[in-house]
Amino acid sequence: MFAFDILIEVCIGYVVLLFLVAYVADRRARQGKIGWLRSPLVYTLSLSIYCTAWTFYGAVGYAARSGIEFLCIYLGPSLVMIGWWWGLRKLVRIGRMQRITSIADLISSRYGKSAMLGGLVTLLAVIATTPYIALQLQSVTLSFGVFAAASPSDWPVQSQHATAIWVAVGLAVFTIVFGTRNLDANERHHGVVMAIAVEALVKLAALLAVGAFVVWGIADGPREIIQRINESPIAMAPNQSSRWLALIFLSGAAFLCLPRMFQVLVVENDDEHHLSTASWAFPLYLALLNLFVLPIAAMGLAVLPQGSNPDLFVLTLPLSQGQNSLAMLVFLGGFSSATSMVIVASIALSTMVSNHVVMPLWLSIRRQGATVSGDVREVVLMSRRLSISAVLGLGYVYYRFSGGGEALASIGLVSFAGVVQVLPALVGGVFWRGATRVGAALGVSVGFVVWLYVMFLPSFGPDVLLSARMMLEGPLGIGWLRPQALFGLHDVDPLVHALLWSMAFNTTAFCIGSLLSFPNPLERVQGAQFVNVFDYTASHRGWSRSNVDAEDLLIMAQRILGPSEAQALFQAAADAQGKQGYLPEITPDFIDSFERVLAGSVGAATAHAMIGQMTSGSALSVEDLMAVADETAQIMEYSSQLEAQSQELSRTAGQLRDANEKLTALSVQKDAFLSQISHELRTPMTSIRAFSEILMLGDALDAEEKAKYSKIIHDEALRLTRLLDALLDLNVLEHGHVTIEQERAVLRDVIDRAVFATSAVSADRVFTIDRNEAREAVQIYTDLDRLSQVFINLIANARKYCDAPRPRLTIRVVRVDGGLAVDFVDNGSGIPAESQSLIFEKFSRLSDQSAAGGAGLGLAISREIMTKLGGSVTYLPGQGGAAFRVILPKLPMERAA
């Protein structure tokens, strides 16, 4: 047997080791060396806080009393982990997306960031967990007691209560030091988790060691153990099907709903992939932990004296065999189980209490909230520290109050059944979009009340909180309201009875409340995000409009997150927006992400309320609705853009159709051109061939005839040459390979030249040309040859085609739009309106007067020339005859002297 000193020394040494582990892990995490700190193995081991001292010592006791049934408590969580694809995966994803800090936060966040629901769940969790913490204190105290009983005189601390106090204080200090170092719960407690992982290994090692000692040390191997088990009284314990099922369900549900389990499963998870490893590794851990429980129980019953407490077999069995070191290991294992559970539970509870009770109260007391002076960060941290102390204090009070007796042993399941009241709201919230805040609040509170009445209050025994009379006869003598036989259900196991009624009432109230109420907009938005978490890549925008100043937000953020973190956050946001300095643009996106960061520190409801106070007041205000309207307007604008695009498309289609028509017309024109040109070429060729054949044959021809025919051939050849020249000219002009030689001249001289050059055309007719030479005395700067070519063409046309009896051409210089134009107007019948657009086309002739000597290319050439020179030639209607206007290229001009 150990002396007290050694026990205390080992204990303190172990605690110092845990402190060191936590400290080193925290430091490495702060330096960014996460590495193995965050392996799936550590995650899996941290889940082992499910196995508390109640498991470590209690499982053997349970097995000794009820046989194989104890396994059910571990089968539930195993099945939940194996079936992770059903629910856990979604829960973890939601926790990461929404920066959930606790189970109360999850429920509050899902149901429209309701502070009321958060508070309710927190209250439930505190009431259900406190006895559990008391149970841990008791187990540590009891295990101390086992050593004390052996040598009472040795022990300075006589009172067990004093032991409990010391344990409670030590745990509080550890939790405060490592649990409230950083505020953002999403930064996670690396130190604590690492310490817990170490403790998980100690637990497992201790139980396996005892098991191996029992099987191969005390007994003679597995064969003897099997025999002993079948011979022990445990084998006679009956199987209760309903209890068996109820336990599997209860443990599985509690695994999800227990605040401490939620903390390690969801909040402390920083990689979803760890879940897939834990899905098999944690069931393996549980199986190994329970492997030797029944052998230890059977052996304990057989070896230890009658009346020994089976809850302590794990410790007393090695001690009775003189295995002191093994006993010490077991003691440390039990100590580990108790401390790790208490640490995580008090972290989880303190987060809940400070985020859902203290902060909302603090905010409502100080209406101005975070905008007035005062360090919110300190307030939050202090409230957490106080909450931790309060939770442990409550546990201790409960332990004292309940007398620390055997009654505590059953409290584990009572506690489970209490937290499980959150399950309908949790499952409904995650899978059913129709679940509403009213339904959740009704379900949780009805379930809570029923649980209090049928399970929690009676669990203290008759005449403690409920009078024995009431428990026996029901309140006011109404028999069917008896707490442990509600509605006459008195033949079933109390646990099944309580679970059945509380869950039935809970679920019914939840469903009816959800079906009959209508959720507010925020609730519906959150509901959609939770239920369809895998569909959402980006989160919705919660804050749409704000008139808040970036600086105010920064001041608030500094108070909550600490100056450097807040500044880094704001600077990163400003960077992302491409802005210099610390103050980003206050966009809805920024406020939204900022709120989520805050939620990581103070919970969703509080963060929402804080930002709400700073922005527009309440959630979803007129401004938000306006933003919704804005978005609608955006959508409408978008659709009108689409409409415009389709109009554009149809316009383009129209243009294409036009172009197509033009191309078709051009193709027709080209065909016409080809037939024209062959015709034009063939006519002279035919006569040349005919007359040259006559000449070749003709001996009989006289000289006059020969001369006549030769002249025809010559004329036709000339005509052919002219035609080809014109065609070449047009081709050159059309395809742009034309050189323009510009020079200065007086317009009058150019016209003079043209009139003179055309004097030979139809020279037989009397043709008058009217000119105003004074007005023609204008300086021009252009290609004079080309210009006179145009003039010649126009004058020659007039001479050829003017059908007036006394043909007269008026050439006048006019100013048009600041430019200079020359009009050629004759007094003939002019050109009919329907032909005016055609005359500039190639080979277009109004009458088939090929005899006139033109090939129909003159005007086409003229137009090309003027286009090249930068002017134009157009038909000028309404002048009493054929009229063409030549607009000269613009240039700086001056009157000639």
Binding site: I68, L75, L79, W85, N230, N239, I248, A287
Partner: protein
């Protein structure tokens, strides 16, 4: 054609992946069923010799088998599967029909 072969292979791949997911969904139900079977073995009062140890062995055999199968499935589920959005699963279903 080589393209067809590749498509067929892809579809087969996603098909298998979806079956792995199905299996990991079904596994806990199978486990629950197997864990409840001992309730049918009413040995107390039947006059037969008690066989609690055998029951215990059965329970642990089921337990460890579940762990083994869950481990195989967890390894078969590639990391990317965690991020398969619902829309993609629909696409997979179409690929399956091909």
């Amino acid at each position: 054609m080589p393209d067809d072969t590749k498509q067929l292979f892809l579809a087969r791949d996603t098909f298998m992946r979806r079956r792995v997911i199905d299996a990991s969904r079904l596994l806990p139900l199978l486990g629950l069923f197997l864990f409840l079977i001992p309730l049918l073995w009413d040995d107390v009062g039947s006059g037969r010799e008690a066989f609690l140890a055998e029951k215990l062995l059965y329970m642990f055999a089921v337990w460890f088998s579940l762990v083994a199968v869950a481990a195989v499935l967890a390894f078969k589920l590639r990391p990317g599967d965690l991020n398969v959005p619902r829309g993609l699963e629909e696409v997979d279903r179409e690929a399956e029909i091909d």
